[in-house]
């Protein structure tokens, strides 16, 4: 488990991260969201022991990241994918991985078997002897992901893992992240891709220097927005909003052609009553759906509020 308590990092007079407290459970996918310069990378660097906090503490499996003697132990248990792949461009893909594998203390034949398995998983085995400078951005990103996986760490810190990847490569990486979770690994993501965060993360932390929100995407949705339901009718008219007025749980009604868009408190409870009224009033309900507020909307609301404050 990773625990951060009142984590603060200053660079001179500039405060990058302030009073950040959170915990990351094992076996979950955790996302850091925030605008550029919000302190995501600094937070991840502190949690991996790459830089030390100015104030506060952080532990990885009870090992304090501020203690230099813990760093090698933490790094054996942590894989880091930085924002830029940071590969040795003139060396082959295999040599890059072999170098890092040896630094992680792996030895042949285990190391060569591990490299082979991972290169085959990412469909790069045939290119293993090619210099990395001949690879596309997506291929380099895959090599960097393999690199942080080599020593089979419990925790993976992935900074913008699908940044700059084409849709196919993005899907490979996303699927791989989900496979990691299935195999019990803990993945900590920093991403601007809110769609990915929504699909992948069990819990997200929205940060902008300090913590703005910390919860599951669905809890954030229900905390920040009322639920919106759409009723598709065969025919609709302008009398309907008037007819729905007695229902206090209906906060707003908007008619768009034959569709009624309503904000309600509890769709599971409220929808049957609304349908009953509509049917009794002679309208024909074709189907009912819920509009799911995206994580992007939540994020923009949080970050926007914080900006105004």
């Amino acid at each position: 488990m990773i625990v951060a308590s009142a984590l603060t990092r200053r660079f001179g007079n500039f405060t990058a991260v302030e009073n950040l407290s959170l915990s990351i459970e094992r076996g979950k996918i955790f996302g850091f969201l925030g605008p550029n310069g919000a302190g995501k990378t600094t937070t991840m660097r502190m949690l991996t022991g790459l830089i030390s906090p100015t104030e506060g503490t952080a532990t990885v499996d009870d090992l304090d990241v501020s203690s230099p003697r813990n760093i090698p132990k933490i790094h054996r248990n942590v894989g880091v994918l930085p924002e830029v792949p940071g590969l040795y461009e003139n060396l082959s893909a295999y040599r890059n991985l072999d170098f890092y594998g040896k630094l992680y203390g792996l030895k042949d034949p285990n190391l060569s078997e591990r490299i082979e398995t991972l290169l085959k998983t990412f469909e790069l085995w045939d290119r293993r002897q090619d210099a990395v400078n001949t690879f596309s951005k997506g291929m380099k990103q895959k090599i960097a992901i393999i690199r942080c996986m080599l020593h089979n760490p419990e925790y993976l810190f992935l900074d913008e893992p699908v940044s700059g990847l084409d849709p196919e490569a993005s899907k490979t990486v996303r699927d791989f992240i989900l496979d990691l979770k299935k195999s019990g690994k803990t993945v900590i993501l920093s991403t601007h891709n809110l769609d990915d965060a929504d699909r992948l993360c069990d819990k997200v932390a929205v940060i902008r220097k300090n913590l703005l929100a910390l919860d599951t995407p669905s809890n954030l949705r229900s905390k920040m927005f009322r639920r919106t339901v759409v009723f598709h009718l065969k025919e609709a008219d302008d009398l309907i909003p008037e007819k729905l007025k007695p229902f206090s749980f209906v906060e707003s009604v908007t008619r768009v052609e034959n569709k009624l868009v309503m904000d309600v408190e509890d769709p599971e409870e409220d929808n049957p009553e609304i349908i009953d009224l509509l049917v009794r009033s002679g309208y024909k309900v074709q189907f009912v759906g819920e509009i799911r507020h995206s994580l992007e909307e939540i994020y923009l609301k949080l970050v926007g509020n914080n900006q105004h404050n």
Partner: protein, 257 residues
């Protein structure tokens, strides 16, 4: 009982020479792929060896010159080879760090279990070993070449002289170390390979000015050698301390530009 020993070991982590060797070998492999650096580090030694041998050959055409005189003359000319370990170390040292910066490979490297000391030693060995190696090969080529040229005339091996041996075995490693740490320190501050090489080269030049300056005032060769050794040791200690202050995980990620 064994637990106590283990805890003590953890408190004083030893240098993992396997990790140091990996960094050293990887840097040399990268260097071998960089033709610009690879060829530029061979030009100077080839030039100095060539000049010394041509000088020996032309001196031999003077029948008046004795074996002792030619020995002193050749030793003086070959003193310039002392610059080789420094220049080669500067070329490689500045490149190995700047390449890491440009590739943005320092963060994944520091995320491995290596310590700051292992990184520094690995990064220092990569320029020092080839620098010293090329320097020693240059000295050896001069000794063999000069002896091959002069033996038919004097029927004796005029090289190596004790001074030349002192240069080879004591001064050349010190000069190599000096060049290495100057390059490592300067390349932590500079982002461009060529700029790092140029600034590092300028930084090692004062050493040679000191050598020339000292030769005017010190009448005994022995005094000159000891003075130079002392200057080198002091300069190396200074640059090692400066470099160590920069080779800390935090400084590398936050301050290296």
């Amino acid at each position: 009982m064994w637990g106590t020993i283990s805890t003590t070991d953890e408190l004083k982590p030893k240098l993992n020479w396997g990790a140091v060797r990996e960094i050293f070998v990887k840097d040399l492999q990268e260097l071998s792929k960089n033709r610009y650096v690879f060829y530029s580090m061979l030009i100077l030694p080839c030039l100095l060896v060539g000049v010394t041998l041509i000088n020996t050959y032309s001196t031999l055409s003077n029948p008046q010159i004795s074996a002792a005189q030619i020995s002193i003359l050749i030793s003086t000319v070959s003193e310039t080879v002392i610059i080789v370990p420094a220049i080669v170390s500067v070329l490689i040292g500045s490149t190995s760090v700047v390449i890491e910066k440009n590739n943005r490979s320092l963060e994944p490297l520091l995320a491995t279990p290596i310590t700051d000391s292992e990184l520094l030693v690995g990064k220092a060995l990569a320029p020092f070993v080839p620098g010293l190696g090329i320097g020693l090969v240059s000295y050896t080529a001069i000794i063999i070449g000069v002896d091959v040229l002069t033996y038919p005339v004097y029927h004796a091996f005029i090289l190596p002289t004790p001074i030349l041996l002192y240069q080879m075995l004591v001064l050349a490693p010190l000069v190599g170390l000096f060049g290495t740490f100057v390059a490592l320190f300067i390349s932590t501050k500079i982002k461009d390979v060529r700029a790092a090489q140029q600034v590092s080269t300028f930084a090692v030049l004062p050493l040679f000015f000191v050598l020339i300056f000292a030769s005017f005032f010190l009448t005994s060769t022995l005094d000159l050698l000891f003075a130079l050794t002392l200057i080198l040791v002091v300069a190396i200690v200074g640059f090692v301390r400066l470099t160590i202050s920069q080779f800390k995980r935090e400084s590398i990620l936050v301050s290296w530009k």
